[in-house]
Each structure stands twice: as structure tokens, then as C-alpha cells.
Symmetry: C2
Subunit: 349 residues, 2 copies
Amino acid sequence: GDAGEEDEIEDPWQDEEYFGSYSTLRLHLEMLSDRSRTETYRRVVVSNRASLRNKAVMDLGCGTGIISLFCAQLAQPSVVYAVEASAMAEYTRQLVRQNGCEEVIRVLQGRGEDIQLPGKVDVLVSEWMGNCLVFEFMVESVLSARDRWLREGGVMWPSSAALALAPCQAHDYFAEKMAFWERPYGLDFTPLQPLAQQEFFTKPKFSHVMEPSDCLASPRHVISLNMYTLQIKDLEEITGQFDFPVETSGTFHGFTAWFAVYFESLDAGGTTVELNTGPNSEPTHWKQTLFMLDQPVSLNTGSSVTGTIVLRRNPVWRRHMSVTLSWNISGDADNWCPQSGTKTFPMWR
Amino acid sequence: GDAGEEDEIEDPWQDEEYFGSYSTLRLHLEMLSDRSRTETYRRVVVSNRASLRNKAVMDLGCGTGIISLFCAQLAQPSVVYAVEASAMAEYTRQLVRQNGCEEVIRVLQGRGEDIQLPGKVDVLVSEWMGNCLVFEFMVESVLSARDRWLREGGVMWPSSAALALAPCQAHDYFAEKMAFWERPYGLDFTPLQPLAQQEFFTKPKFSHVMEPSDCLASPRHVISLNMYTLQIKDLEEITGQFDFPVETSGTFHGFTAWFAVYFESLDAGGTTVELNTGPNSEPTHWKQTLFMLDQPVSLNTGSSVTGTIVLRRNPVWRRHMSVTLSWNISGDADNWCPQSGTKTFPMWR
Ligand SMILES: [Ca+2]
Ligand SMILES: [Ca+2]
């Protein structure tokens, strides 16, 4: 930001705006209506039903308390600390009583960083994931709570996380936002195209729904996070590499990203549960995130797209980051010139 | 608003926010992508092609200048004043040049209230309609420009406008926002229902798409505006009455509103062109507006819903208003008790 902007910084975490949005129902309804997300957390509880017996659980950023309620109703933990920073906590308490779980669930209003518990927990469960996995950086609160409250040998849910990426077509989005200006109603509106590029392609497009057939190469995990060893300082810059052999000839409009998280079993050798937000899985409210190139590139099978992705946390606005994609196209028989590019997308500053 | 809010009023027209939103492409793209809207304005020009010859036209709030360009390319007006208050005007000038219309179209940046023209015009065309017809009250600028710049006997496009209303079902919306809390994932979340009612049913739902089969009675025009005689002071309170004989038994969840506008021919006896944004017409970007009752009511054929609608312009926030619906249900054979109610919906303050 420029100097004028920095003068105005009062709360670079924007907690009032962030937690304020979670004190209304809209976001909670969106998350609860996401059956893929919510049923996955229920499946994690059900498949660990026996092992959760007498365990102490922390549900960080519990919202309406749905995960805590699953634990209390479907397993027999000794206690569940349901931690929520927003004013929703007052309603969470009512929901716990309404469902007869007040003996097991203790609702605590506060931030993960500040909360005080009577003792350590065996399991730290949280739904902290945002767009491109880490956007809004709720994960920092989870890591902070882990370091203070997870006992040695305790379990993190999710236990690991990955960011997936694929080069892709986006004909509909390109037509709607850019090609549109070429001849609308028989007129030439191309003078607006630079404005359109600035307005629609500078930032990533959230809530993109990619058809699997729009992938030009098989998606790859380009970043993997271990929730036991990840440190808060690691979040400042997260880097990944990719090498995509093009499997479908088509127009390379950009990259699409999404995430998957994994919940290990409390029992050695038990099954791991996966929540995948990609185009081949059941849709979730996160959908996918689309990063548009400034110019589409024609790609043929036989070529490949290699490069790097860097997530850089905003040093000032701590819930924001930028995503830098650098790519190189090689081995295209029809186009011997290697093409390369780099583009940085603010999310949102 | 409370005292604290009123202390902060600097610009009750919120012009910076209002015109600022029209200096980006997003809203212009939404309007231009609305083929029903845009093709209707083109049809108005085409069907008046001969009579527009040598006429002076004002296109108020011209945006990208699409209507002005239709006039210049499809007819032979002497001049088109393309008036736009937002910074988009600079691009409008470029589009006029790019399409070779700079001899006919003069782009003027300014508000309808302030603009100076060399002389009066024969036709004042504008696309000023908002949700529930008048929301955002751009119509005030049109009336002000009419009084100053339309010659005696000149033509207004649109020439008249109507607000349509129907009592309706809204099962999906009710299920999604209210019934949802009854038993999600086997839990009782009903303590959140008062919060849901407050959050989702207090204000109208914009961008509602009503299925024609969700109308419980034939829609009626409850308010009609004559664009020649309407006065700015009339906008403070606009009242309509309704009497809907129920034609389909069902659940009365609320009222749905939309508008239609009419463009009279420049020739006496010529055909009038209609733009209708209702559920039986081609979809537009306005869609419909849904007003949810606090409690659904079961309605049977043979009963009727009578009442009034009042649009009250906010005395402070001049682009906002409230909609008060008062209704009375009578003649239901299954339910001899007449039921009545009244509810005021802020849009948005
Ligand atoms: Ca989240
Ligand atoms: Ca409008």
C-alpha cells in the first residue's frame, strides 16, 4: 500500500470485519449447507467413534458448534472445548443446550491465540481452510492453539493439507468478460478491453466452477502442509513447483487452484478421511479459484508447462496474500518458441 | 437511523459511492449482457427510425453510450447528447470515436440536474429503472432533465412505467433460509430461526427468480407512473392497492414485485414497445424482488388477498426507500378467520 493507506491502518488483522462477518448467519448457513464439507467432518468423527472415548477435544473456530455436536452426539469424548471468537458463541451455547450436550461441550468465546483451557487436549479439530487453502490465515490461530494446547502425541484434524493446481481453459469466463467487447450489438467496444483486463483478470476469480474437461493437464499437488510441523513463520512465503505435461490440446487461459485436506485416524493403521474441493469431487462452497493470464496461449499435447507458485502473505494486511505464478511452455511442436510469463495476483491486497 | 448514524451524514445522495460504482465496468457489463433490456432499447430506435430523422435526443445516464450509438447508427438524429455523470464518460467518448459517431453524439460528463445543453431536445431517453422500479431514484435526475430540456410536445422514453405485484410461493427460499434450521444433520438448530428471520426476511430479496407457477394469483399493476406528468415530489410516497383472487391453492410466502416500462411511438398510432421484467417475460438482470412474510399462510382458491403497497422514499438517504405491504385475506372456506398483516421492508435503510 501507499503511504496514505498505511497511515490509516488501525487493525491490520481487520478483526472487527472478519469476526463481524461470522456473527451473522449468512456465512454459517453457507458452510452448513455445504454437505460435502460438513458430512466429511461427521465422517471423521464417526470413523473415530471408539477412539474418541474419554478424549479431550478442542474445536477451534467452532461457529455454530456443528463439529462439537457431532463429537458429543456420535462419540463419547470427556470434554469438547468449542472455541469461537465471534458473537455467534452466544448462540452456540444455546444450540449446545437445545441438543442436550451441555455436560460435554464447553463453549468458550475468544480467539485461538488467547483462549485459556483447564488442560491440554488430545485432538485439535478445526475447519480453517479458505480460498487457495490459506486465505484469511485462520490457520495461524490453529497453529498457535496447537503449540499451546495440543498434548505431545495429540492429533490434528486436518492432519495435512495440499494445494492442487492445473493449467486450464476458461472459454466461458473469457468470452463473458473479454471477448464480449469485440462486437456487442454490432458495435466495436474494444477500447474497453484494457479496462476489462484490469478489472476482471488482475485478481483471482473466487467461486470458479471448473469442468474437469477444462483441465489441459492432470492436476498436481504443488504445495503440501504438515499440520504437526508447520510453523507460523512458514506462512510468510509458501512455494511450490510444477511440471504439467499437456494432455489435451486447447487454449491455456490460466491456472485453477483448489485444496484437499486429510484427517488421519486416531488408531495406527486406521483409514484417512479426505476432503477434496477439486473439480472431480463433490462440489463444496469453496468451489475453485481461477487465475487468468493476460493473454490466452494455444497449447498442444506434447508440450509442457513448468514453473513455480509463491503465496506471499501481505506484511501489513495479515489476512491477505498475493499469489505469483511463473510459467514456461516448452516442447510444442507447432510453436518452437518457448513462451514464458509471470503474474502476481493480489488476494485482495 | 440512530443519532450516531445521522451525525455522520455528509452526502445523503451517496454520489461518490453511486457514481463510483458506474465508473468501473462491472455494472455496465451486467447491463449490456442483459440482451432483453438492451435489444428492447434498440427495437425502440429501429421502430422509430424514420421519425428520429433530424431530431435532437438526450440519452441521460448513458453509461457506455449504447443507446446513443443505436440512435446514431440506426437512425439519423441531428444530435444526441450522451450525458453521463460517472468517470465512464471518458471511455464513452472513445467508443463514440471508435464507432465513427463523433459527428452526431456529444458526450457530456455531468449530472442530469446540472447539465447545460445548447437547446431543448425532442426525445429524452434513459434507462433509469432500478429494483421495484424506482430504487436508487435515478428517476429524479430524469424528471429534472425533462423539466429543463424536453421541448413542449417532446417524447419521453420510457413514456410510462408500472410496478407489478403478485402473492406467491417461495418454497425453495423458505427451505434454504428458514426450514433448514429444523433438523440439519440430525440436530435441532431452531434457536437460530429468529436470527434467520431477522437476517434474511427483514429486507426484500433482490434478484429473485420466480417461477410463473409460484404465483398464487394473476399479477396486477399496482402502481402506474406517467413520465410526462410525474413530479419529483410525487416520489416521496407512492401508493398502490391490490385485490388478488386466489387462483392456485398453495403457501403464501410473500409478495413478488417487478416492473414494466412502455416506449410510445414518435408517430401517432405507431406501436408501443414494452420492456417487461416479470416471470413470464425474457429474463433480465433485474430479475424480480421478493418480500417474505414473517409467517407463511396457507391459501385456498376462493379466498382473496387485498391490501396496499406504499413506497416511502427515505427522507435522509435519498437513494433509499421502504416498502410497506399491508394485506388482508378473506373468503377462505377452510379458514373463516380473516388474516391480515403489515410489514415494512427497508431498501436498504
Ligand atoms: Ca473457512
Ligand atoms: Ca438501472
